[in-house]
């Protein structure tokens, strides 16, 4: 991609209040990185699932602070996706995730996220999807909790020179 203006909004979704999953499908393969920016209200965990894969190919490492303590942890061989954030139902959570070099077919895919819940915690995470496929769809999945109707999700594409 030639140098020039980038950071292009690909798609935006506002939750209905009765869904646990937002899916970005048919993602264009013309960018270098993807970025999800979400402002959401829900209670639960946020997973990023790629290409519908539920095969235990996800892992993460995170660091977080709750206002009274800090900790780091990890999960391995996850099936739902990368568990990249948390939300508390009474608070707005700002969640951003960067997915790097998503269209290449030679490396596993790695993502970084920031999760900021004013009433709960602040967290940064790195996640790995052990699959060399190019990413064509992303599900932002919260098992067991619906996203409120004030929750928004936007997917951006960033192209390097």
């Amino acid at each position: 991609m030639a140098a020039g203006a980038t950071y292009v909004p690909i798609a935006t979704y506002t939750a209905s209040g009765s869904t646990t999953t937002i899916t970005f499908s048919s993602i264009p393969q013309t960018y270098t990185d993807l970025r999800i920016i979400s402002n959401l209200v829900f209670s639960g965990q946020i997973y990023l699932q790629f290409n519908g894969d539920t095969g235990g190919n996800y892992s993460i490492t995170y660091v977080q602070g709750t206002g009274s303590s800090a900790s780091s942890g990890r999960t391995t061989n996850q099936t739902n996706g990368m568990q990249m954030g948390y939300g508390v139902s009474s608070n707005l959570t700002v969640f951003t995730a960067d997915i790097f070099n998503y269209a290449n077919t030679t490396t596993y895919k790695t993502a970084l996220s920031r999760d900021s819940d004013a009433g709960g915690l602040a967290q940064a995470s790195v996640g790995l999807w052990r699959n060399t496929s190019n990413i064509t769809s992303i599900a932002v999945y919260s098992p067991g909790a619906n996203y409120s109707s004030t929750s928004t999700f936007t997917l951006y594409g960033i192209a390097s020179a």
Partner: protein, 193 residues
């Protein structure tokens, strides 16, 4: 898990507006034989810079998190920097840094679980108000790497104690723990108006 609601990018209309404030400037690629990526003659027409990378080193020396350095305008004097960081390795959390501290990034070498060429570290580096000649320059980073059972995530702030406008940036790998940038490493520089 089956997604129950979704949207298709191809169905979106009226939103596909190219931003006029975020620009791709240049991309540097690893060769496997050099530990330095340099962006030079950086345009002075933006407010901020951002580097987004996906990278790893060729060294098999081990040791994680490894480090590298971000040098501005060819200044390699560590005493002109002060950095602080917060990092987690999956079991413990720690902070570090201080005057003269290196600027650590979570970039793996090629050893143990990191030997696979398929696993790289990633990061976003923001360099604020880089053309201003009245204040020192401050950067922030979020970097990380995961290999399904090992890895780390790291947030860092770094100050370059110099009021010069930034015209060049070099990303220099730690010679021991990273070695050279692998041939599938890439660092992309963007300008933000």
């Amino acid at each position: 898990m089956s997604p129950i609601l979704g949207i298709y990018a191809s169905q979106i209309s009226g939103h596909l507006v190219v931003s006029n404030s975020y620009y791709s400037i240049a991309t540097g690629y690893g060769t496997g034989s050099s530990g330095t990526i340099t962006f030079s003659s950086i345009p002075q027409t933006y407010s901020h810079l951002q580097i987004r990378y996906m990278a790893k080193g060729t060294s098999s020396a081990g040791g994680y998190p490894t480090s590298s350095n971000l040098y501005f305008n060819g200044d390699t004097n560590a005493s002109n920097h002060s950095s602080h960081n917060l990092r987690g390795d999956g079991s413990s959390v720690a902070g570090g840094g201080g005057p003269g501290a290196d600027a650590p990034f979570a970039i793996p070498g090629s050893y143990g679980s990191w030997s696979s060429s398929s696993i790289l570290g990633v990061g976003v580096i923001d360099i604020l108000d880089y053309t201003n000649t009245n204040k020192n320059k401050v950067i922030r980073t979020l970097t990380g790497a995961d290999a399904n059972g090992t890895g780390g995530v790291l947030l860092m702030s770094d100050m370059w104690i110099n009021t010069s406008a930034i015209t060049s940036i070099s990303i220099v790998a730690d010679s021991t723990y990273i070695g050279n940038w692998s041939s599938n490493s890439q660092f992309a520089l963007y300008g933000i108006k």
